[in-house]
Amino acid sequence: MTCRDQPTLSARGVRRVLGRGSDSFEVVIEELDLPAFARVAIVGPSGSGKSTALALLALAMRPDSARVLRLNPPGDSPVDAGALWLARRYDSLAAVRARMLGFVPQVGGLLPFLTLRANIALTQKLARRAVPGRIQELVEALEIAQVLDRLPAEVSVGQRQRAAVARALAHAPPIILADEPTAAVHPAQAHTIMSLLAHAAAHSGAALLVATHDIRLAESAGLAIAPINAAGLRGTVGWLPA
């Protein structure tokens, strides 16, 4: 098995019930293997559980149960995240997130009191992984070098999303997750941001998993498609080779 074949992120039977009573629904990741260097889009309509699935995979949401939830990035020790959740080792999970994951939320998720530069550098500080020249390289590629010293409120939505992409990549994580990263930007910018994300992930050798409702956008950015099957309120995410 080559490095490319090794699953960087594996999930089996990861479940989480959301809501209460008759309004509750369960999001299930039946089986997911995300190899290193993969570029995949989880595609499904609104309410199909894409964001929840992504939050579960990003170790940001506690699963109700998980048969397998494991990270095994190249060059790093494997992590049994399911066991960490079970043992309530939240700080250990935080350390894993800081070191192994990059995340692009729907609307940037930048800290409003930090400049774009400080927001982008934050992941390097928290991961304690300074990568010389990487931030400069990223901001130039994402074309936000001119606005780095501005606060998020002082730049456009598109620039905020690009900064969020840079923040997700700054500490060179082996896994990048993005939840509808183009939802808040003008359609004309959506393709650019998606392509930049895909290109930057490929360039840094990270696995990329994007949740989107726009299958054409995902395909145009060269992402493999993994449909979330919302039969009723259950979903199964599978890896479809590109």
């Binding site: 964001s51 939050a55 990003a58 170790l59 940001a60 949401m61 506690r62 939240y90 700080d91 935080a94 350390a95 997130r97 800081a98 070191r99 995340f103 939320p105 729907q106 609307v107 940037g108 998720g109 930048l110 800290l111 409003p112 009191f113 930090l114 400080a118 934050l122 992941t123 500080k125 928290l126 991961a127 304690r128 606060l151 939840d179």
Partner: protein, 404 residues
């Protein structure tokens, strides 16, 4: 170390980012805290001022025998050793306390009648001024010194007369002015003398002591009874109880026990009143502070959840709002102290002399200032810690799904 610095700088950058809100919080704290500090200052100025004024006047603590009778020396010794008694000196009969005095080098000069007041080391009436040590030493009251036109070091001659069946005798007693007491010590012309000199004079007048040989000092004889006493309670609070205890022993005494009891009652009442007002104010202040900081933490929840998601551990995440609360509390109490000091200065100017000469109406003491800062910081830390404790349980997904 780098992570800690990063946390501290993050907390302060966030405060600076929300500086208008932070300023509102700080001013809100100061607005409630400053009147509380002024209130405490008034308590210190008015009540403590009155108490200190009374304490400074030793006569407030004075208890003296009301009439002349025979007090056994042993009984006076027992009273003197009671824990509530700071000082006791026996007295001679009142009629024997009068002494005519003139300047020693002016035999034909005018005489002044002085009241002899027996004293001893530690007499609160004399305070820090020198005490008569030798039998011929006297400390004059300011009024006596003024009448005699003398200063410390002057030589005086006291004149004691007695009448027996056979004849009328006169004894000249040389005296040395050792010091002049403060005007507050005794208002009338008087001489503080050793108990030995006073008892000698009384004994000589009673015919039980002989005149000393020429050129020698009087020789006192030991006494087993005295005509009276003068004592001082150790504390102001001891006066009423001591007065009552002496009366219970059958001793007639004069004191300001009633005034002291009234003052202590006013002190307790005013203290309790101020405590209740200050307590209500402080409680309201802490509730307001807690609500403000709790709301601030809730407002920052999405950002803090994002920090948690990005990998910040629970402990520093919890410390984040606590650090901010401490900074706000320090700034708020600093402004409150400045405002309270300014208010105190205005009050002291407007009501100068109300509670005595050179005594401030409102005194913001160091203890009050430290107490105010400690109360504010402790309240802020408690409120922020209570709010931050919830942050420790925050689910990181709140940071990535909540718009920010």
């Amino acid at each position: 170390m780098r992570t800690r610095l990063s946390l501290v700088s993050l907390a302060f950058i966030d405060l600076w980012f929300e500086r208008r809100l932070a300023l509102c919080t700080i001013l809100g704290m100061a607005a409630v805290l400053a009147p509380l500090i002024v209130l405490a200052g008034l308590r210190a100025g008015v009540v403590e001022g009155l108490r200190e004024a009374l304490l400074e006047d030793p006569r407030t603590r004075e208890i003296r025998s009301a009439s002349n009778r025979d007090y056994p020396a042993e009984q006076l010794d027992t009273i003197a050793t009671a824990p509530a008694v700071a000082f006791l000196v026996p007295h001679i009969r009142f009629l024997a306390t009068s002494l005519r005095v003139r300047l020693a080098d002016e035999p034909a000069g005018p005489t002044v009648e002085l009241r002899l007041i027996p004293t001893a080391p530690g007499d609160p009436l004399l305070g820090d001024s020198p005490q008569p040590a030798a039998i011929d030493d006297v400390v004059l009251s300011a009024a006596a010194a003024a009448k005699l036109h003398v200063q410390p070091g002057a030589k005086l001659m006291g004149s004691v007369t007695r009448s027996t069946r056979e004849k009328r005798e006169k004894l000249d007693v040389p005296l040395h002015v050792q010091a002049v007491a403060a005007p507050a010590a005794y208002p009338d012309p008087a001489a503080f003398v050793t108990l030995a000199l006073a008892t000698f004079k009384e004994d000589y007048q009673n015919g039980v002591a002989e005149a000393p040989d020429p050129g020698t000092l009087p020789q006192p004889r030991s006494r087993s009874v005295y005509a009276g006493f003068r004592l001082y309670a150790r504390h102001l609070e001891d006066v009423p109880a001591l007065d009552a205890a002496l009366r219970a022993q059958g001793l007639e005494v004069n004191s300001r026990a009633g005034d002291v009891a009234n003052l202590l009652s006013v002190d307790r009442g005013l203290g309790l009143l101020l405590l209740m007002v200050a307590g209500l104010g402080a409680t309201g202040y802490l509730v307001s502070l807690g609500a403000t900081l709790w709301a601030a933490v809730e407002r920052k929840r999405p950002g803090l959840a994002m920090l948690r998601f990005l990998g910040m551990r629970a402990a520093p995440l919890t410390a984040f709002p606590i650090l901010q609360a401490i900074a706000l509390a320090l700034a708020g109490s600093a402004i409150a102290l400045v405002a309270a000091e300014a208010t105190a200065a205005v009050l002291n100017y407007l009501f100068a002399g109300t509670v005595g000469v050179d005594r401030a109406l409102c005194r913001v003491t160091r203890g009050t200032a430290l107490g105010a800062v400690a109360l504010t910081v402790a309240g802020a830390v408690l409120a922020a810690a209570a709010a931050a404790a919830r942050l420790g349980r925050i689910e990181p997904w709140e940071g990535i799904v909540t718009p920010s």
